[in-house]
């Protein structure tokens, strides 16, 4: 998918229509990321609102010349969601919540997203090696740096990179066909 640079530049100029199109393109992916962190639909919606308001307000701090737009908004989404989980109110309401990754979420979803091939993805990710699930969860859904992920998984950095690459290559084959 080519990055919609024209829409991004229009949004940076204050174009609400362009912003609306970008929301349509990215809101579900960011919502999925946020939900995998906060694990509550209501909280996830609030965080998503905050994230898109931040994207609008800070749009000029991103440049299409440098870096990927998706990576930029992915960071905003993960950081906002993680901030939310550190808030006192959030901790109080969720003391005994077990940790959960994207595979658990996919498996437990009753209404799978119809826009994407959720059922196919679900079948595939359930067959992913536990090592892959862990790596993708930490690096993509939880926003760990490569160093933190290697430390958490007790893997040498090189091994982490290779495994991550192999896991994503397999995932790409299934998802994109």
């Amino acid at each position: 998918m080519e990055q919609p640079n024209e829409l991004i530049i229009a949004m940076q100029g204050g174009d609400e229509k362009a912003f609306s199109k970008l929301y349509t393109m990215y809101s579900e992916a960011l919502h999925g990321i946020i939900y995998s962190i906060v694990l509550d639909e209501g909280v996830a919606e609030e965080v998503l609102q905050d994230v898109f308001i931040k994207i609008w307000d800070n749009s000029k701090s991103y440049s299409v010349e440098k870096g990927r737009f998706f990576t930029w908004i992915l960071n905003i989404a993960r950081n906002t969601a993680i901030d939310q989980t550190r808030s006192k109110a959030f901790k109080n309401s969720r003391k005994n919540l077990s940790t959960s990754n994207f595979v658990d979420i996919l498996s437990s979803h009753e209404n799978l997203n119809r826009k994407t091939n959720s059922i196919g993805i679900k079948k595939f990710v359930e067959k992913l090696k536990p090592a892959c699930i862990q790596i993708i969860d930490l690096l993509y859904f939880k926003g760990f740096t490569q160093a933190d992920a290697a430390k958490d998984l007790q893997l040498p950095l090189g091994t982490l990179k290779t495994r991550n690459r192999n896991c994503l290559r397999d995932l790409r084959t299934i998802v994109l066909g």
Binding site: H31, D57, K66, L106, N111, L139, F144, T145
Partner: protein, 264 residues
């Protein structure tokens, strides 16, 4: 690093998920500028990850976008209008207070006017009550008079006008022979000029003897031009003359207005 080394290094995957330290990002971006074909690799990785995350999303209500749109629009408005924004709440409050005070003054004025009205109406009522009383008294007097005049004790006769002095004049007499009471209705007489007064006479015809009965003056008036006189000895006729104020000893015949005989 050549292009294959970059592809197999695992750096592109970490770049897309934002997991690389800033220094390695800078290095990779330099390499990307050098090998534009790597952009496709990155776009495919991105598409894969976006679909994976989309598969994990719960249903997303449309209201979320509405909320975002409202939020960014409010912020814009605050930026441009914060300093000139009118405090409608305060203005409304002051306007309400002023209206309230004006209303109180208006009501006080209305109350005073109503009090005035009541005072005036009360006075009018007193006047009207007096008029009603007067009218009732008049009515009672008239009724009484009518009762008397209609009773069989009273004989009625007319004193025709004197052709020489006042051909149109007349007077009516109601006479009670037994009690010697006479009522004179003087409506048929022209109004007496100033300093003059009508005088009533009773007459015996043979020999002609006039005797003053009295003056048509307010002290004798019963009601509406009807006068009452008492103690009249058996007369044969009645006459009315115009005399100087105070009356005369004997009638001035040149000023005889009416004359008539008592009916048998």
């Amino acid at each position: 690093m050549n292009i294959e080394e970059i592809r197999t290094s695992g750096q592109l995957e970490l770049y897309v998920t934002g997991s690389l330290p800033a220094e390695e990002v800078r290095e990779l971006e330099q390499a990307l500028a050098q090998y534009p074909e790597l952009r496709e690799d990155i776009e495919q990785l991105e598409a894969t990850l976006i679909q994976l995350a989309e598969a994990a999303t719960p249903p997303l209500p449309a209201l979320v976008w509405t909320y975002i749109l409202n939020a960014i629009r409010n912020v814009q408005k605050l930026d441009t209008q914060a300093t000139t924004r009118t405090n409608w709440a305060a203005i409304t409050g002051w306007a309400a207070a002023i209206l309230c005070i004006a209303g109180i003054f208006w009501m006080l004025k209305e109350t005073n006017e109503l009090r005035e009205d009541i005072r005036y109406t009360t006075t009018q009522n007193v006047i009207l009550e007096e008029q009603v009383q007067t009218t009732e008294t008049q009515l009672a007097n008239t009724n009484e008079l009518l009762d008397i005049l209609r009773s069989k004790e009273y004989a009625a006769f007319t004193l025709p006008g004197n052709q020489a002095v006042a051909p149109q004049a007349y007077a009516k007499v109601y006479f009670n022979k037994k009690d010697q009471i006479a009522y004179i209705d003087a409506r048929g007489l022209p109004p007496a000029p100033q300093d003059k007064v009508y005088q009533v006479w009773s007459l015996i015809m043979d020999p002609l003897t006039p005797r003053s009965v009295g003056l048509l003056e307010p002290s004798k008036e019963i009601e509406g031009g009807v006068y009452r006189f008492d103690n009249i000895p058996d007369p044969e006729a009645f006459g009315i003359t115009l005399e100087p104020a105070g009356g005369s000893e004997s009638p001035t015949l040149q000023q005889l207005y009416t004359l008539g005989t008592v009916a048998p």
